[in-house]
């Protein structure tokens, strides 16, 4: 026969073993962790897309490389984070070569060529162009023509990769 507790102890429940159940939370965290590990890339961002523009989508799979960075946003033409001119002026100008941009580009090219002489860092003449996807073609052509005439013939367009 079982031991019968005394009347005073009969209704005591044990509060010491109250424990939080973490199992479902652990499951969730494990799934999130695995997902994040999967999308984690060791390369990191070499090229950061600028603000105030939406890059076009493309099926291209080439990985972008570091180079001189020219962004054509909705308002400004930005070379290496420094604004060069307004996009409206670019659209309005009748010239094919844009002098303001050409001056800046030649300055960068000269610096890069000096670097090449002094430290042997090869000047490849490559430039990354980030354009807003609604940019009209005539503006793009003007920018490309200017780059081509300013010692930067290797142009790359930065795009978002389609998931397909």
């Amino acid at each position: 026969m079982a031991f019968i507790p005394t009347r005073s102890k009969r209704h005591i429940t044990d509060p010491g073993s109250l424990k939080l159940n973490l199992n479902s939370m652990m499951d969730m965290f494990t799934i999130i962790l695995l997902f994040l590990l999967k999308v984690y890339s060791t390369e990191g961002h070499l090229v950061n897309p600028s603000d105030d523009l939406t890059l076009p989508n493309s099926t291209m799979e080439k990985v972008p490389e570091m180079s001189l960075d020219l962004a054509i946003s909705k308002d400004w033409l930005i070379l290496n984070d420094k604004p060069v001119m307004k996009v409206n002026d670019l659209l309005a100008s009748q010239q094919f070569i844009i002098p303001a941009l050409q001056n800046e580009l030649l300055r960068y090219a000269n610096e890069a060529e000096k670097m090449q002489e002094k430290y042997g860092q090869r000047f490849s003449g490559s430039i990354t162009i980030q354009g807003d996807k609604e940019l009209p073609y005539r503006a793009l052509v003007k920018v490309m023509a200017t780059c081509g005439r300013s010692k930067y013939p290797n142009m790359r367009f930065l795009v978002y990769q389609n998931e397909s």
Partner: protein, 177 residues
Amino acid sequence: MAFRPSQRTLRPKQDADPDLTPIMNLMVVLIPLLLTSAQFIKLGMIEINLPPAISADAMLNMPKETEKKLDLSVTITDEGFYLASSLAVARGRSGQGPTIPKLDTGEYDFAELNKNLYKIKKKATGVFKDVDQVIIVAEPEIEYQTVVSTMDAARAYMSDQEKLPLFPTVSLSATVM
């Protein structure tokens, strides 16, 4: 009165739960770390190489073109695509207008362009020298996205299983402003 049972045999069963607190600590640190470094948007790059501007002297010394060239070009207008080569300009279905008109919804028909370019590629391979080059010309007001999508359509053709290269070397040409 009954004997009190032995404390040893009736000791309540110990819970076998492992202590998860250190693992939770690890998770709390790892997840923000990975979240900040995760790359949700993949960036790509389209290469366009122009020959550096050359002087008139160099131009004269360039060898004369002897090979047959295809000189394929895709012209984007606000009505659709025109396809042209050194031999002919491809006509539209009704005999006039663009080769590949816009869809009824007002969108460009990139799938049809892709198919047509595939046909041209099949015919031109072996006959011409420059079967991986295409020149893209666009009207001044064409949007950048359309130009990029046209390049995509010209780059590769997805057949049933494999990806066949079409004209990966793209040049852009200026239009009359």
